[in-house]
């Protein structure tokens, strides 16, 4: 089914039809019209187009239209043969370095690198001279002209696959180099290779026509399109049709191969892109005015996938709120929606989405840029690697606050100092790669502080950091809250981290908030079966080592798998028929404590 995706694009479908026609002609034309194409008619020498001879006749009176049709077999056959030889040679040259001893591999690699530097057509002409004029010489010339780029492509793809863990795993299992290549490496690079081979076939076809046209390809009495073109060209001013016929054939066939390859490549890119799209994640609670008010927030992607399904919560000034959830819970997407960072094709809807009492939609960028700060998981990708840290911070104030360069630079140093980066003046002049992970995350937070943030949204800010650094970054967020009375929305998969730092916790599951409660009640009064199970399943430094860890059966649903009923029901020990058919709303147990569960509090308390 995957292979058919290429046919869904108009270009892919059209080129596929064209290719099918060409292949059918290659197979059947010589059988059907071979005789007519070879029939010599001395009464009709060098005629122009007529009803009898659509493209006219050649100097022996043979019908050029049928000759063009019949030549399809030789033209395409030779192009494919040349491509095949070229691709196979390239594949061998590109993959042997991984099997050969290191020194031998290096020699092969260097040879390929040198060969890649020569233009393909030049190589083809060079080889054509060496192998001599004629069909075999031309096939080899074009094949070896294709070889270097394929060898290089194979090397690059092989290198990218070789770094993956499954190759290391196979090596540890004692799988030999040759089997490693054939069973693990080649199958995983086959797709781009096939696509490039299709493109190469198109170029081989035109290159071959070129060689035949120049008279160093196919020799009489055989004929291909290039040769027919060469013969027709002599009379082009008298009668253009005999030259244009084969020319159109060359163009159409070349286009068919190239467009099909392009369409297949586009389909492939789309797929890999889709595969690389991060799992949507998210947050939620009820709303009653405050710094940030979110009511009934939905984030939807094409295909009816809704990773955030009706999340409501509010954040008040100076509050630190934790959002806990696993991948796919919708926590990160909620954060992105709140910062207006959900990218196309995702769409965000909400009954209310207000920041500072104003709809988020109509908040000017400048205001959002200074009042709301976002800290991401990976500080490495959040900075431009080619610019100094200080400059990147200063730009925020220049763009959003109209500072001049000098004042902005001074402020950047001041803010680096505020996040306790030692020697801020020297550090401001350094590039991101000169910062450690923890320092970079501080610099990221400092960037958020260039404005006067009222809300800092931190999405897994410590996940990529070591524990000792994690503690420092969390302390820094707590300090910003204290000193600047900014609110903090801390998103984390780690319930312990949230418990340590936040005032309130929102627990998300399958795109909804399933429980909201004050952090100091988390370990004593949590009621939702998911929350309580999570607390028991995660070991901490006080877990009983002799008892097995509590296990939550199954796994969290993907955003596309959520059906009717409570999404936790399949994993819940308390689930009954109602749970499986109706999804519970978030209801208030008592002030500050909300749960989305059908069970009564007594039933829920019994589980603990």
């Amino acid at each position: 089914m995957r292979r058919l995706t290429v046919l869904r694009s108009p270009v892919g479908a059209a080129s596929a039809v064209l290719l099918t026609v060409l292949l059918a002609l290659a197979v059947f034309a010589p059988i059907l019209w071979g005789d007519r194409a070879a029939a010599i008619d001395t009464d009709a020498l060098q005629q122009g187009p007529s009803a009898d001879h659509l493209l006219g006749t050649d100097q022996l009176g043979r019908d050029i239209f049928f000759r063009v049709l019949v030549a399809t077999r030789l033209t395409i056959g030779l192009a494919l043969l040349a491509t095949m030889i070229g691709v196979v040679t390239g594949l061998v040259l590109g993959s042997v370095p991984s099997v050969l001893p290191r020194w031998a591999g290096r020699i092969v690699t260097s040879a390929v690198n040198i060969a890649v530097a020569f233009p393909g057509l030049l190589l083809a002409l060079f080889f054509a001279v060496i192998f001599g004029t004629g069909t075999i010489g031309a096939v080899l010339a074009i094949a070896f002209a294709i070889t270097p780029s394929f060898a290089r492509l194979t090397q690059t793809l092989t290198a990218s696959v070789s770094g993956r863990d499954f190759i290391a795993a196979a090596r540890v299992c004692g799988v030999g180099r040759f089997r490693l290549l054939t069973r693990h490496v080649l199958p995983n690079i086959a797709e781009p290779l096939v696509i490039n081979a299709t493109l190469a076939a198109g170029s081989a076809l035109t290159a071959f026509a070129g060689l035949s046209f120049l008279g160093i390809g196919v020799q009489a009495p055989s004929y291909d399109w290039g040769r027919l073109l060469g013969e027709g060209l002599n009379r082009i001013y008298i009668s253009p049709a005999p030259a244009l016929g084969p020319a159109v054939a060359v163009v159409l066939a070349g286009l068919a191969f190239n467009l099909f390859g392009e369409a297949a490549a586009a389909g492939h890119r789309q797929r890999s892109h889709r595969a690389a799209t991060p799992q949507p994640k998210t947050v939620g609670s009820p709303a009653d005015g405050g710094l940030l008010t979110v009511r009934n927030l939905h984030v939807t992607f094409p295909g009816g996938i809704t990773p955030v399904r009706g999340v409501s919560f509010s954040v008040h000034n100076g509050e630190m709120i934790g959002v806990v959830g696993e991948s796919g819970s919708g926590k990160s997407l909620t954060a992105l929606a709140v910062s207006r960072l959900v990218e196309h094709p995702g769409s965000v809807t909400a009954d209310t989405l207000e920041f500072n009492g104003k709809p988020l939609d109509s908040t000017p960028d400048r205001e959002l840029g200074t009042r709301l700060a976002m800290v991401f998981q990976d500080p490495t990708t959040s900075f431009n690697p080619t610019k100094r840290i200080g400059r990147q911070l200063a730009e925020v104030s220049e763009v959003h606050q109209g500072f001049d360069r000098k004042a902005a630079a001074a402020k950047a140093v001041d803010r680096l100092d505020a996040v306790r980066i030692p020697e801020p003046e020297r550090r401001a002049k350094q590039y991101p790669h000169e910062f450690s992970g923890g320092m970079r995350q501080r610099a990221m937070i400092a960037m958020g502080l260039m404005g006067e943030p009222q809300l800092v949204i931190a999405d897994e800010p410590t996940t990529a950091l070591d524990v000792t650094v994690q503690r420092e970054v969390l302390k820094l967020l707590a300090r910003i809250r204290e000193v600047r009375s900014a609110a903090v929305l801390l998103i984390s998969h780690d319930i312990t981290v949230v418990a340590q730092t936040c005032d309130r916790v929102l627990v998300m599951y399958a795109g909804r908030i399933v429980e909201e409660l004050p952090t100091d009640e988390l370990f004593t009064a949590a009621r939702h079966p998911y929350t309580t199970a999570l607390l028991k399943a995660v070991p901490d430094l006080d877990t009983d080592r002799d008892a097995p860890l509590a296990v939550i059966p199954g796994r969290p649903p993907e955003p596309g798998e959520i059906g009717r009923g409570c999404p936790f029901a399949p994993r819940c020990p308390l689930a009954d028929d109602q749970c499986r058919t109706e999804e519970p709303e978030l209801r208030t147990l008592r002030q500050d404590h909300r749960v989305a569960c059908w069970k009564s509090e007594t039933e829920l308390a019994g589980v603990r």
Binding site: V172, G437, R479, H493, V538, L541
Partner: protein, 235 residues
């Protein structure tokens, strides 16, 4: 029973010393937890034990096969190979592969009927079970687990940890269990070694290392580990 012994192992990359004169013994049938921060050399040390990396000096000895389970189950299984074939590939010649695959899948609590499935059809937790089954297929006496739960969802991590503990006890494996998460290491390990900047700074029985840490750095790690009932005060 089989020990895994590192003797004065040093690994250098150019001028950088990733592992610096490490001597460490994983006692037969026990779990040695190895903690340390990123860049401390834990994974490099593990790679030397299975031959993925040659030590610059020193040597490693184990009586019996050593196998390894990797961190990321999304990249440690060949996406184009069925899980049954991935497991069978690691088996010694002459094994009844079909029966053995079924036995191993059953051992890691997966339905043997799924042997023909591609990894893409499995969740992260299930893939990590397959990776465990593949490691066991080579009949190792020593297993190295390198951050095997850090790519998993928290609700799934517990099940994998339970499984690792059960299998280790049931099969009497010696195990080097690497993690940056102290709570996880504490849960599975008999002994704990702490690594910093390529060196083992402390090693001892798990309870002793955690309750009475002797090295400054161990104390620092313990203090930094998030705890449920301690509020983190603003600095």
């Amino acid at each position: 029973m089989s020990e895994l012994v590192f003797t004065n192992v040093t690994v250098r990359f150019g001028h950088h010393t990733a592992v610096d004169d490490v001597s460490l013994t994983v006692p037969a049938g026990q779990v040695m937890g190895l903690v340390g921060e990123s860049g401390s050399g834990k994974s490099t040390l593990a790679a030397t034990a299975v031959g993925l990396r040659k030590p610059t000096s020193g040597h490693i000895s184990a009586d019996g096969k050593v196998q390894m389970v990797f961190q990321d189950p999304y990249s440690s299984l060949d996406p184009r190979m069925s899980i049954g074939n991935s497991i069978a590939e690691a088996m010694p010649r002459g094994t009844d592969k079909k029966a053995e695959v079924a036995r191993l899948l059953d051992l890691v609590n997966l339905d043997p009927g799924r042997a023909t499935a591609l990894p893409a059809r499995l969740s992260g937790g299930q893939r990590q079970r397959v990776a465990l089954a593949r490691a066991l297929a080579g009949r190792p006496r020593v297993v190295i687990a390198d951050e095997i739960t850090s790519a998993l969802d928290v609700s799934v991590q517990g099940a994998v940890l339970n499984l690792v503990r059960d299998l280790q006890r049931q099969l009497g494996l010696s195990m080097l269990f690497i993690s940056h998460n102290l709570a996880v290491v504490r849960y599975v390990s008999d002994r704990i070694a702490v690594m910093k900047a390529g060196r083992i700074v402390e090693e001892g029985p798990a309870a002793r290392v955690l309750e009475d840490p002797r090295h400054e750095y161990t104390r620092e790690l313990l203090a930094a580990a998030p705890r449920r009932h301690t509020r983190l005060e603003a600095s």
